[in-house]
Symmetry: D3
Subunit: 296 residues, 6 copies
């Protein structure tokens, strides 16, 4: 590269950094919970992008927390072990062996891969299960479902300690009850509950769609920003339906309980977290408590 070209690149770099400055200043010290899932987690390249994004968030002064599930990976190991997955109302029926497998995959495989991808940058990430230090107390969702859990309580102390040490917690969504019995819990639900417990500024949900669409068939119908009240109306009148409903519920719950904003982002877009947080345009759907919040 010639000196001039190098200079041009350098100047562009500087220009971008300076454009990012107001965002960096605005979010300094803010806690951001990133629910990591879907394709972003299956595609290794996308996974590295999310890791990079999370490291950058920390580098410029935010306090990211990663929450992840891993349904497909659980199913895969179950298949290899010749165990038949059984679903009821869309929820995996989870017997003792299944929750053991789920825990092994989430804590011992998916969590580890995220921690490793982050720690390529330095000794930054610490993997946690919801069982650690009483982080997530679980209760059974329904007797028929076995060890499928609900969040009974979140004790965020261990997260706060790690954040205070400038570390990045990565949380597997296994909770336990008072007897130490593990439960597998929906990761969106956990991410929302953790964001509330940490009084986070932002809860970011990675999905496999561009955000909320008023017409699923039409990508240009993306809702960039919406208030909780408006969003509840869209759910009530049936405009929003199907697979997004649980994610929407977790996001609504988080904002209604005090999280600054929730973001539904397309995890298939490389570096979508940075794109959403460090530009005015945003590229997914931002949910805020009142109609006139900051643009997504």
């Amino acid at each position: 590269m010639s000196g001039d070209e190098a200079g041009a690149v350098g100047h562009e770099r500087v220009a971008v950094l300076l454009e990012a400055l107001p965002y960096i200043e605005r979010f300094r010290g803010a806690t951001v919970v990133v629910k990591y899932g879907g394709n972003a987690m299956v595609d290794p390249a996308l996974g590295r992008h999310v890791a990079d994004d999370v490291v950058l968030l920390r580098a410029v002064g935010l306090r990211p927390v990663v929450v992840h599930g891993g349904g497909p990976q659980i199913s895969e190991l179950m298949a290899r072990l010749g165990k038949q997955a059984e679903f009821r109302d869309g929820l995996r029926v989870t017997d003792a062996e299944t929750v053991d497998i789920a825990r092994m995959v989430l804590v011992g495989k998916v969590n580890r891969d995220i921690v490793s991808a982050i720690n390529v940058h330095g000794p930054l990430a610490v993997g946690l299960s919801g069982e650690d230090a009483g982080l997530i107390s679980a209760s059974a969702r329904h007797a028929d479902l076995g060890f499928v859990g609900d969040v009974a309580a979140v004790n965020p102390t261990i997260l706060e300690r790690l954040l205070a040490e400038d570390l990045i917690p990565v949380v597997s969504t296994i909770g336990s009850d008072a007897e130490g019995q593990p439960y597998n819990i929906n990761a969106d639900t956990v991410a929302g509950a953790v964001a509330v417990a940490l009084r986070a500024e932002k809860a970011v949900f990675l999905t496999d769609v561009p955000g909320l669409l008023t017409d699923v068939a039409d990508p240009t119908s993306l809702i960039s920003a919406i208030s909780t009240k408006e969003l509840e109306a869209l759910v009530a009148d049936g405009t929003l339906r199907g697979g997004m409903i649980p994610k929407v519920a977790a996001a609504l719950h988080a904002v209604q309980q005090g999280v600054g904003s929730a973001h539904l982002l397309d995890g298939r877009v490389p570096h979508v977290v940075l794109l959403e947080l460090f530009s005015d345009e945003g590229i997914g759907t931002m949910i805020t408590a009142d109609p006139t919040g900051e643009p997504s």
Copy 2:
């Protein structure tokens, strides 16, 4: 129970507590690394006993750290997945898939079970892999063995933070290199290295034998206390041989690098850790830096 009987029980309890008082005072604030393995880890009842012991150590002011391996459990999952274990010179040849399985079992199953057994007492334990926050840097032991690792360095910061918060770290012996590649490392080695890095007062190794025997066939030949110099002589002259050698090496290394004492205990004896630490007799082998150390 009659009032008198209750009184008698009560008085006995008090007598025991008061007898334990000098030990409690002597070990106040001491860090103790407990290498957990062998039968103690396979038998659920023994496992609960170790968990109880560790919780009690913390309750009376010590700072326990648990380090564990899990060879049999790894072999079991490999078998279920139809993967043949291959050993060379007693070490498992570990290809990429095998280290993935080992990690899944250690971090996602064995570690979790220990954490759960402890956390029945309260939100006390936090599971860690050596990959977390740069805890254990690993290097390949030998090209032929694949991802079998040696301890290249221990960064005990995350352990010190958790201990300072009065938590009990439980460490799986997976380390990683600068690229994030995981390695499976011998648990005795890790326990010794962690004890050194933490400047621990004691390193306790649970085994399936009563301690060091000068004659393997004769349980009455138990060595109660021995100095590092004497122990090196016994290794040199062939008195000690076979499976205990790696454990002895880890214990020797720890004491020579500044750990107050190392203890080889019979993990098959319920509550063996408390028995060793809270009575003058001791019941295993204590290794100290000089011939006139405190009795095991």
Copy 3:
């Protein structure tokens, strides 16, 4: 002792420690004010037992504070100095010389003996008079009684500092007014007031009776647990009378002002404090704020 016998003793010890674990965990960090008096203070062996108990409480994580009086010892020195004790309504008339003698005995003799008995275990105890650092502000109880004082105010700062340093404060019940005039104050009253000021979990009063008896002549009529409301009723209807009334008043006051529970224990029973705190049965009378409190 044979190895087997030693083993048996060891196992019993461990069993007791583990039975104590729930109590240790429940009371971790709790402040306990122990009013030391009566026979326990006159009999040197009992005195050593109380010192041992207090040291053990601290060793397992509680924060004990000892408060003591010393009527008999004051009377003894007065007799040796040929000074006639004069009582009015059961209270010693206290002229300037008498309060000087009382202070000398309490601060310079009784307090010292308690501190010494504790410090045999290490540099743990610090003797204090209520005059130190403004701990107890006193006012005259009645003009006719001279320097017999009431507690006007308790400034617990010095106690909190010493407790924060893991020390055991031993308090003589001398208070002073703004001019520095010392007053002799009833030790039960001071113990209750100090417990309230420290927001203690427990206030323990050592007496020379087994606890509260509904029939003084019948030791089997011991009340194990009672609520403040029930206790007030027993006082009102005359069931409780006589010498216990002042102690009962101090205990009631403490619990009504926020102390978790008050305990009236028989100081003649060796290690009665531990027996009460570390067993479910209890052996004295526990007073709590509501009828369904934890069993004494």
Copy 4:
């Protein structure tokens, strides 16, 4: 802007941020002393650029300190007040009135303008004179020069306090002696001495040339990186001469006393500080302690 264009811009921004990440991580917590002077200080636009750069350094975790002089501004006010500047050996002869004027201009005008430019971003900068809290102790350079000072000592405590509060100190190069007499001191010298006292990682000197040139007439003769030993040789053999010598001396001194690297940069290039610190190419001259340091 169309969505696609916005997306393209966003992706570019993210790419730049990620490229900057290694620099941000490498310099996290590093102290950087920026000597601000020459054209960068006279041209308001360039001044704003330097302010922006300094704010961005802080935003991504560095700890910048600004040191400035202001010869031209001093001359201007002297001219308006009809006071003749007198120079001896290139140094301004400084009588009592002149040092008063210099101080007024530096502390009351130049410093203030820098502070204002920074504080447009928030309450970040605090202006200091070397007289504040004993920051710079001065001694007279030469009797003939009046109140032209040398740095006798730097007490960096006040700077460390402000940096610990996440503030940006802006230092005017007035020092004082024990009697409170102010002296005007060369700003390059002060910047170097302050960097040494703070054990800074970097000392950056803004100049009006591209850096060190082996041939002043040939901009392509720029030295990108040089060790202190090599630099001393170039000074000794006369390759480097003239106006750069004092700046070179301050830079050499800083690196020889432990500052990680010194940088001579062209203050006429917008955002030159960021360009140097956040790209591999660098654009000025970097001086390090040994020949194989990191590239400028």
Copy 5:
């Protein structure tokens, strides 16, 4: 001096120190804002006295903050620069050049002289402008007056940090708006606002009169102590008039917003601050919140 004479001097010194003891104890840790102005600031000897007083206040445990203006010095430099001062309703019309001059004089000259006079005693004082770290946010008082400012808000964080470091802040009364535009603000107003923001115990205003006089012509009509209510009445009925009104308004505002007392003192009397604070008689006017406050 003979030994006896020396002894006599010594004893007198001790007597005075002991008389001062109750004042020292009463004011320990108290924040005192001293508005420095008028003749005390123009006469160098008086200036040194104020500096001495402030140093002594700190030495005996108070926390002094100095606030100063400097109208005469501003006028003088304007005259030297041939710039005509224009006043409207007693306020200087302040164009961009004038505020630049005012800032240069206040921050670069008057502030520096005060800091120097204090720092003869050690590295104690730190000069600040209201622009530093967002200390004083200003807004324009009236469009016709240009950059004459009102206090929009005080952010006392930087002052609290410096006080916590045992330093003496010296504040020039320049404020700035969000764009960094400086404003010149009345020093009495700033002193009152700073005292309120710091929740100071005392705000001391140095003037060129003995205090409040009910009859300006009669020095014996001095009001030693007055409540805010009484003072408001004297203003309302016209007893107080003229130049003191702004100072009275600042003092009233401070006390009404929670400052313990305001003091109007004669800055022409050497060491008037100490005379007022360390004697029962007082020598100026003390304003307190209620009629029965402590005597001035």
Copy 6:
């Protein structure tokens, strides 16, 4: 008093305070151990003066520690109790009953009176015995003397904690051995040892003579300042003899072990401590490590 007179008094007061300022600044934070004894302790008025002095030292930023004995008071109570004092080589033979009496008098009477005299000024003083928190470990001086002790070790932790809380420790010179047996120790010896352990700047010994006299019969032969070397010479050549020798030994020991200076002062002179510390002339004998120390 007329206003003018009041003014005159005020001005004088201010003058004295300002003269004291350099001393206050020089001694800020310095630890001063005051050995209190002799007439100063028997005469109540002198006792109040010492208390006042100590309070003033603290008020202006020093950290005083009081150490006291009380031979005459011990003898008095022994006489009242009909116990014969027996001396051997000038040391009281101390049987178990005698040490009990000594402790009662020192800790319960003399210490209390000093604490009370100080606490008239506020909750400042805390009485301690050397037995508290392991402050003074004692050993028997000689088998024939019973419980007359030597200082075996000083553990100053409790003193440092109290000083850090801005409290004034008052220490009775009772030490104890590992079994808790109390010993009576010479107070000069304890004062010196405590000063060394605290790394005090000054150790002040109150006596009943004006200081060191080269001719005991001639008060004008007072030595104002002397180095340890010179002082050792005067002892060696017999110039100094008799009762001062033990005090001189304690002072020498303190200075030789690192205490800044030792002072032998006439406790009969009111406020002699302040007179010595806050005037250039001094009035007793100051002992420093080298011949050219600061004047007494």
